[in-house]
Amino acid sequence: MNEKTKSFLFKGWILLSTLIVLAIVFYIFGYILSNGIESINMEFLLDGPSGIPVGSQGGIFPAIVGSLLLMLISCVFASILAISTSIYLVFYCESERIKGLIHLITQCMSGVPSIILGLFGYTFLVLYLNLGRSVLAGGLTLGFMIYPFIQVRVEKTLLEVDKSIINSSYALGISRTYTLFKLILPICKSDIVSAITLAGGFAMGAASPIILTAAVTFAPIPSSLSSPVMALPFHLYILTGEGISLEKAYGTALVLILLLLIINIISTIINITRKEHK
């Protein structure tokens, strides 16, 4: 085989793989869209579930609110921890051993299956800390799940800031803290925001960490952080798993996907406008 045919075949292979992946994505999306669009209407989006068994009638509004709340709590919790850890590792930690240890812990955390994180959340948060099955316990558990995801990305972004730019700030006699808050973080802001939104989407779609810690089949919009909640992925699981209503399940899936899409679009827009304003 000569070089020309080789490169021709290679290009063909790349093109084919791309097409296959695109086709699968569009197929999934189209399938859910065509099956789910029927059940989407005002009532479905804005009402609570009803009927016997619960969920066979009515809507999913409490689940939408619940999922958004869980995402918010997990993002706040995980990003505070992740950003602080990354800043410590990149700018303050002098010891290679401590750095290695923290990296090891982060890696282990990201390797823990999410159902086991759920179990941990259940024993530690729900039972031991007595938070009960609640939106707070679920949010924190999801936070543990996305923490490594955010930490790794934020650390990478911080490391990518040009050392000579940082040094020019130090060379003006300016302190580390000011340099961090007024120079480094603003430079990294858009990357950090997009890492957090991606992680938020990840958290919103996850069912296993919340099965034991937060989600219930039916609940109104939570009145406090200690109330249990409905959540889209769990609702989806119940609707199909218990054979309640396949039609409503597709509707729920479509809403979940659209929400994730909207979140990603918002983060892209934030990124673009931020970059223009810098």
Partner: protein, 246 residues
């Protein structure tokens, strides 16, 4: 009149000694050029003067007197404010031109909008950018290389230093931009003491009052630029100037 006195300075990275027992005085409001082959320790010497060497993992022994007081007895931040530095490749912050120039003044407590505007305007005039820029909100990274370097010089001037250290500030620039910067440095030397590391011997000849030649971390020759270039005392200086070391 020496603003800086360097006495028996040695600098090492780990156990590798780069500057060896070097002594020299820097004259106030003059331009001093530091020349020497690559790797001889020019940047190391320069960064020792504002203690930036510590950020690069070097350690110094010996004495540096800034206005007759040991530089280590000052706060590190104060030394760096009074001895500004400009790097080899331009390092504008990826913010607007305005923000680049107000970044340091804000840190030093200037909040008044009018005062900040004045600093920005004066600085831009000082470095000759005032007429070249029409939008202060433009990203500084969108300026040309030469403009960026002048902005960086301006940024160093916003904290009102007394000495300006420049490490090969023109090596990434073309001839015209180099001329601009040289002219700027000549103007600035009325007010500031300038120490410039350069690979470009004719640049040293054009702008500096004094020239120091360094070889392997040792000061070989240090005199007025005129003498160093027309009548060097040391043979190694002569060889370097005639282009033996390249």
């Amino acid at each position: 009149m020496s603003i800086l006195k360097i006495n028996n300075l040695s600098v090492s990275y780990g156990n590798k000694q780069v500057i060896k027992d070097l002594s020299m005085n820097i004259a106030r409001n003059k331009i001093t050029a530091i020349i020497g082959p690559s790797g001889c320790g020019k940047s190391t010497l320069l960064t020792s003067l504002n203690l930036m060497i510590e950020e690069n993992g070097g350690s110094i022994s010996g004495e540096i007197l800034f206005k007759d007081k040991a530089s280590i007895s000052y706060e590190k931040a104060d030394i760096r404010r009074m001895i500004g530095m400009v790097f080899q490749t331009p390092t504008p912050f990826p913010f607007s031109i305005y923000k680049n120039l107000t970044y340091a003044p804000k840190y030093y407590g200037i909040k008044d909008k009018k005062e900040l505007n004045r600093i920005v305007e004066d600085t831009l005039k000082e470095v000759g950018l005032y007429d070249e820029i029409d939008d202060l909100n433009m990203l500084a990274t969108k300026l040309s290389g030469g403009q960026q370097q002048r902005l960086c010089i301006g940024r160093a001037l916003t904290v009102e230093p007394e000495i300006l250290l420049l490490d090969e500030p023109c090596s990434a620039l073309d001839i015209r931009n180099t001329e601009n910067i040289e002219k700027l440095l000549l103007d600035l030397s009325d007010e500031y003491t300038i120490v410039i590391v350069t690979h470009n011997l004719s640049q040293a000849k054009r702008i500096s009052d004094y020239t120091a030649f360094i070889l392997d971390g040792e000061l070989i020759e240090y005199d007025t630029t005129d003498k160093v270039f027309t009548n060097p005392k040391d043979n190694r200086t002569r060889e370097y100037i005639e282009g033996i070391y390249g």
